[in-house]
Structure formats: structure tokens, C-alpha cells
Symmetry: C2
Subunit: 226 residues, 2 copies
Amino acid sequence: MIRLEKVERIFQVGDQQVTALNKVDLNIEAGEYISIMGPSGSGKSTLLNILGLLDRPNRGQYLLDGKDVTSLTDDEQAFTRQQKIGFVFQFFHLIPRLTAEANIELPMILAGIPEQERKDRIHTVLKAIGLENRADHRPDQLSGGQLQRIAIARATIMQPKVLLADEPTGNLDQHSGGEIIQLLEDLNSKGLTLIIVTHDMNIGKRARRRIRIVDGQISADETGVA
Amino acid sequence: MIRLEKVERIFQVGDQQVTALNKVDLNIEAGEYISIMGPSGSGKSTLLNILGLLDRPNRGQYLLDGKDVTSLTDDEQAFTRQQKIGFVFQFFHLIPRLTAEANIELPMILAGIPEQERKDRIHTVLKAIGLENRADHRPDQLSGGQLQRIAIARATIMQPKVLLADEPTGNLDQHSGGEIIQLLEDLNSKGLTLIIVTHDMNIGKRARRRIRIVDGQISADETGVA
Ligand SMILES: Nc1ncnc2c1ncn2[C@@H]1O[C@H](COP(=O)(O)OP(=O)(O)OP(=O)(O)O)[C@@H](O)[C@H]1O
Ligand SMILES: Nc1ncnc2c1ncn2[C@@H]1O[C@H](COP(=O)(O)OP(=O)(O)OP(=O)(O)O)[C@@H](O)[C@H]1O
Ligand SMILES: [Mg+2]
Ligand SMILES: [Mg+2]
């Protein structure tokens, strides 16, 4: 389903070059549950951004469902993203002027989902994340962990094929974090391909496949009981 | 040193009222090492913002070194903050147009520290947080955990009397997180009053005094060996 071949991502800062990803090969089948862990600055967010079609490699290839997406135009990438990929950003990227409810609703409006269906889905997900009484709050009126949960709701509301979650519990206490992981694992059990970047060992080890990244390279890739 | 008496903070959203802090009493002595833990949305950031003079209570009093700071003007609060308080924000609030180095330098420029002294201190702290080769990167060119470390460097560079850190390791792997806590505990051993909000049990239990907040109230306040 997802195939990266010799993917490289190099950033230029002044006359300094940073190799964020260094000839990465990676195959991911539909329905997998993968955790990605590694030191701060090792390339995890960069990898997720490339998988999520938010960034392009400098070299190498990315085949999504057998199709080379590295050569798509920006518009074509955006369309593929909207159709197939849900993304929870490390720092959420919610829209400041919209309420929690409107932020969650946005992907459904873009996809042409009728209003009653939208209202029902929002109501269900707000309940699932414990934020029914924060529906009208704007991002600057929400706590860090509440923002994180809204971002997760927005990323999952369109039932994407693939969910890429960049540190989805970094601002959550043990209890809320556990509920979120439960929610994501339920979606995975229904067929969602789930890829979670995390710094939390307790979360990382729950995945059926555990990838470790160090200095822009995959240093470990283990499947099965930890 | 810090004394909160019956502090209340109430937010209004449309016709909904949120009591973020509910008659909080809290005494903190100079040099203490305190962790604050509690569920997402329980009032931790709100409490820290009030302690850091970034917000005011609706009711109650805040005495800092015996002086009632609740009644200071905004300018007086800003001056007191610059003099005494270092703050690591939950989402960093670095200046997007400045490099990592310039972000760290800013408090020293505002305080009139001479250039050579500034350069020396920046060099030392960048080394301490492992980011000497990221000095010229801007915030959008840094990873989440790198941003977090820059925010911590900025908050500590003026050697404040009190450091308020809102989830300072939420985006850091085990190793970098441990180094940061080490750094903060070293400063505490030299007299810094250290207050850390965290969701990480392993970090919270290291503090000599452990406070728990639930629904805007202090539900536990323990000192000594856990
Ligand atoms: N736009 C950019 N320009 C220059 N360098 C960048 C850019 N984005 C990332 N980097 C660098 O690339 C490296 C990888 O960054 P990335 O954000 O992928 O790390 P990460 O593994 O997600 O780290 P963290 O755990 O701290 O979030 C870092 O060293 C970072 O400084
Ligand atoms: N400006 C605001 N307007 C309205 N409500 C607010 C505002 N700021 C915070 N709140 C609400 O007050 C409560 C406490 O928020 P606070 O940010 O202090 O929580 P927290 O303990 O830091 O949570 P987290 O662990 O998720 O960061 C939350 O329920 C939040 O929705
Ligand atoms: Mg990252
Ligand atoms: Mg908070």
C-alpha cells in the first residue's frame, strides 16, 4: 500500500545542509499498526510529512497504492490527501477563528457530507473524546490536551484509509492518553492503517510493528510480541 | 515567597462559564522543587499563567515576596516578570522570524547584558541542550523537541528566581527529556525555585513536593519521599 524507496530529504539552512532522511526504504501494508520512535530531531516528523503528502523527497520514490505520488502536482497531492489520509500534527494546526466543533466539521464540509450527517458525527466524536461541553470554544480557549483531542477528532472524522499521528498523546494525562489510543486502535481493528510517532514507550510498544529512526535512518524494524 | 489566597479564575465563553481555578490556596517557599500533575483541562496552565503574572485572578490574592501583585498595572507586572520569573510555555511561543540563537539572546538584550557576555552564555547553553549546530535555524526549521529545548534555554538564560515550566519534556524522547530535567534540577540546587507541570509520572515523582490538581482545585499536596 505504501512503498518508500531510497527516500532522501535534505534541508538547506544558509550554507549548512541537514540530511533529515537518508535513503529510507519502507513498505507498509494496508491495515498495519506501526509505531515510530527515536530521538528528538531524528527525522520522524519529516518522514510523516512525506508519507502524508505534505512534503516531497529530494530523491527516491513514494508509491501509494502502486501509484508514484512523488510526481503528482500540488493539486493532485492535495486531492489524494483529502481522499485517503488523516493527519494529526505534532502541533495540531487548528484554525484559530473556528470553534472546536467547526474545526472538526471542516473536512466533512469539504467532502460534501450533508448537514445532518455532519452534526451526528460531530456529536458522536465529541462525546468519545469527552469534549461535548467545549464545542463552542475556540483554540485559544482550550487547554493543550483539549486541542490535541480536537485535532485527533478532525483527523479521524472522514474515516481515512491511513492515519498518521505525530505524537498524539504528548499533552495528555495517562487517562485521556489511554482513551485516545483506544479510539485509534478501534479504528485500526476496522481496517485503518495506523502509524503513530511517539516518545512514549508505553504507547510505542503496543503497536504490532515498531520502527526506530536515528539520524534519518531506520535503525530497527520489529514485528510481533515485544 | 509565593502565596495564593482563595484564587479564582473564571472564563466566559458565550453564555457558558468555566471555573478553571476554584478558590486555590498555595504557599511556595524560595528554592522549592514542585511538580504539578492532573488531568487534561484541570487548570494547570491557568495556575501557571497566574503565578507567572501572565494572567490575573478574578477573585483572591497573589503575594509575591510579600507584595500584592494582583493589583499591579500591566507594566509593573511585566517588569516584575522580566526581573524574577522564567517561563517555559506549553507551546513555546518562540519568535518565528528570529533564529534559535536570537530567541535565546532576546531576554539578555532587554536586560542590557553586554554583547560578549551574551555570546558566551548562548554558546554555553546551546552546548548544554545539544543544539550548537542549530543556532541559525528558525523555528519552522526545527523539530518539536528542538523548539522545546530552545524555549527552555530562553527561559533559564537570565537565571530567574522562579522557573515555571509547562510540560517541558512533552516533545522529548527519554534521553533528551532526562538531560533537560537534569539541567533544571541543577539550577534548583543552586537556589532556583522550580515548578514543573507535567503529565509524565516519572518526572513528576522526582520533585520534592508533588501537587495534584483536579477540576480547578488542589486535590493532593505531598512532600518528601514518594
Ligand atoms: N524546514 C527545515 N529546514 C531545516 N532543517 C529542518 C527543517 N525541518 C526539520 N529540520 C531538521 O531536520 C531534522 C529532523 O527534523 P524532524 O522534525 O523530522 O525531527 P523529529 O524526529 O520529528 O524530532 P522531535 O522528536 O523533536 O519532534 C532536525 O534536526 C531538524 O532540525
Ligand atoms: N481563555 C479561555 N477561555 C475559556 N476557557 C478556557 C480558557 N483557557 C482555558 N480554559 C478552560 O479552562 C480549563 C483549564 O484549562 P488549562 O489550560 O488550565 O488546563 P490544563 O490543566 O493545562 O490542561 P492540559 O493538561 O490539557 O494542558 C479547561 O477546561 C479549558 O477549556
Ligand atoms: Mg517531530
Ligand atoms: Mg496545559
